[in-house]
């Protein structure tokens, strides 16, 4: 099994009410210095091996026709090593930051 990640974000020119709401809330919570927030979707797909060019092209097609609404969204596709996520109190490894 390989993990493919598809990130889907609203195109930059499209209004992102969710990101805006988050951004506006931050100062109230004491977080300053964040000038913009965009909120999008992240899909993690477990795909059967081998993940060759053909398979990846299929995933890209899937992203374009289904996971993203390309009228308003852009996307990226990439193969990813599984990372460990932080949980509450998170001393988890995180990704390189």
């Amino acid at each position: 099994m390989a993990r493919v990640v598809v990130d889907v974000m609203l195109k930059p020119e499209i209004l992102d009410p969710q990101g805006q709401a988050v951004q506006r809330a931050l100062p109230r919570l004491g977080f300053e210095g964040v000038t913009e927030v965009r909120q999008g979707k992240r899909f993690e797909l477990e795909v059967a091996e081998p993940l060759d060019e053909v398979a990846l092209a299929r995933v890209r097609e899937m992203a374009e026709t289904f996971l993203a609404n390309t009228v308003i969204e852009d996307f990226t596709v990439r193969v990813e090593e599984p990372v460990q996520r932080e949980t509450a109190g998170g001393q988890g490894a995180g990704a390189p930051a």
Binding site: P17, Q18, Q20, A21, V22, A25, R28, L29, Q39
Partner: protein
């Protein structure tokens, strides 16, 4: 309790929708409804608080996630910890979970749609501040309306809720959102804080609701207040 009527506050957050209805339900139950504003730290001497339904802050990010940080929530948290009856309906339930006053969380309905239906429920715990006017096992019908109404928690938490009798109400016939163990409402360990996904406040008048089965939630609280005064 101050004076004659029980005073129950209803908080309005930006995007609250059923606040007016909650106030009407409180009045219908014989209480005095007090409008509270999210930016206000003051509870204005109310004896109990309702966090109403709606889409606070558009439910952007997560339902209840932004509202939880409102100034008034600090006072609500303090009150709740010292025994004040607090009820969260729908979005209010979500705010209570986000505030960690109640365990678990509410996630997207399993069928992914908003659903508005008249829903049969069984009252499982008739001893909370908001359910004493029911009997355990009583079946009632009130509307549900939500898109993020699926109650989730880890198994241990669910088991603990069951064991401690903290499941307040359960869906019957049909689980409208994929809630674990058909949970429609839960309470905290002391029974003063209740989160309820179904909208009891929309079942207080046969003209505008499917039944009057929801009235008991508000009369219960008023009775609790009298008892404790």
């Amino acid at each position: 309790m101050s004076g004659g009527l029980g005073r129950i506050g209803v908080v309005t957050f930006p995007g609250s929708l059923d606040d007016r209805d909650a106030r009407r339900a409180i009045r219908a139950a014989g209480g005095e409804a007090v409008a509270l504003w999210h930016r206000d730290r003051e509870l204005h001497g109310v004896d109990a608080v309702v966090l109403p339904g709606g889409f606070s802050y558009g439910d952007y990010l997560r339902c209840g996630a932004i509202a939880r940080f409102s100034p008034i929530m600090e006072s609500v948290l303090t009150g709740a910890r010292t025994g004040m009856p607090v009820l969260g309906i729908c979005n209010g339930f979500q705010v209570l979970c986000e505030s960690h006053l109640l365990p678990g969380a509410l996630t997207r309905n399993d069928h992914l749609h908003f659903v508005c239906r008249d829903q049969r429920l069984r009252i499982e715990n008739a001893e909370t501040s908001w359910t004493t006017d029911y009997t355990a096992g009583q079946e009632i019908t009130v509307p549900v309306k939500n898109i993020d109404g699926g109650y989730v928690a880890d198994e241990r938490t669910l088991d603990a809720l069951e064991a401690e009798g903290r499941v307040v109400a359960r869906y019957l016939d049909w689980n409208p959102n994929g809630s674990r163990r058909d949970i429609a409402g839960i309470t905290n360990q002391t029974g003063n804080v209740v989160g309820l996904m179904p909208h009891a406040e929309h079942a207080v008048d046969a003209l505008t609701g499917p039944t009057t089965d929801g009235l008991g939630v508000f009369t219960s609280a008023l009775r609790t207040l009298v008892g404790s005064s």
